[in-house]
Symmetry: C2
DNA sequence: GTCTATACTTGGATAGAC
DNA sequence: GTCTATCCAAGTATAGAC
């Protein structure tokens, strides 16, 4: 599984053949099928492994962040970490691969769902009773954020250029202060307590 | 090229082989190589064709929209149109494919750049002298929007489920009113005219 | 320009020895 | 569990007839 991650990062989905992965691992190609049945299953197992590691990391990082400014800083740091660790690369590669191997689709949405859930949960906590909560449900915002992360990773992987992403995070940091003000003040709540 | 678009929409990148495309077109497989040299070049040509059509459509649609609310409505309508026309599908498929065929990467960024430029241009017009313009440059926002579109398309294509995207657009429409207020009122400009 | 035929390559997958 | 050997399918690409 480590070799699969390594190969996905280095060669992308197309390069992640049973032969290539086995060669990275220094073992024989047939072992892939002995242990995992198919290459796709190995790829999904590898994705699960890195996802789990990253989820733990995300949770501890977000737990220590209070308010939009810190959360955005955490998001940026973690995005960088993800790129280094190759987690986003692996995810992007497999999602990209899913467009070429449709069987992967359903397996992948199951693996992305927790990330949307995780994001929605923390957004929900932040938006709390703020006026934004009614306008923009946490689930929608979470979907958008996950889609944004994914789109950024794919665009960034096309050129090697990370300037766009960094510049975007810088802009978000600048936005975090007025945003904090907006969230901090529950603002003219007209007090209509709907369920 | 029509057959290539059709095949990409129906079968994804993996299914878009010279054989499959030729079969869709009702011609012989060898013609792909006679006319386009390689399959990738055909795919890029097809992408160019649909991109050009869509760009014309985007421009005329956005030209008639004034203010955030209308622009968001236009964005939603056009997103739906794109899904129908398959333009986003084709783009998503080829981008996904690029992760498996690295030679496509540079060719693709050249083809995406105009879309970021187009988006930035119109955002620039809208943000104008608003207080947001300093905090969030149009280029960053444009990059984010394009990434978001792409990510949405890829996530949506994993399941067949468009509910997320529709729900997100609905939320954005609700947000467009306060946003319009924010943009309309140049707001407490402390009047520090920096270059 | 379009076809048939075919060479070549790569990768998934299995059988069977060890 | 790991290896060698091998089969088979699918795809790119080219040669050459028409």
């Amino acid at each position: 599984m480590e070799a699969a991650i390594e190969t996905l990062k280095r060669e992308g989905f197309a390069g992640a053949s049973a032969r290539a992965i086995a060669s990275t691992a220094g073992v024989n190609q047939a072992l892939v099928f002995y242990h995992f049945g198919t290459v796709n299953d190995l790829l999904l197992a590898a994705l699960d492994a890195t996802s789990e590691r990253r989820m733990v990391r995300y949770q501890e990082a977000v737990a220590n962040a209070a308010g939009p400014a810190e959360v955005i800083a955490v998001a940026r740091d973690i995005y960088r970490e993800d790129l280094d660790a190759g987690h986003l690369t692996v995810l992007g590669a497999v999602i990209a691969g899913a467009s070429t191997v449709p069987e992967l689709g359903p397996a992948l949405i199951e693996r992305i769902r927790p990330w949307i859930g995780f994001t929605a949960e923390h957004l929900g906590g932040m938006l709390g009773g703020s006026p934004l909560a009614d306008l923009a449900p946490a689930e929608d915002a979470a979907f958008a954020i996950v889609a944004l992360y994914l789109g950024m990773e794919l665009l960034t992987s096309l050129d090697g250029d990370q300037a766009h992403a960094e510049s975007l995070f810088a802009a978000l940091e600048r936005l975090s202060l007025p945003l904090a003000a907006l969230l901090g003040t529950p603002a003219k709540q007209e007090g209509h307590p709907h369920a």
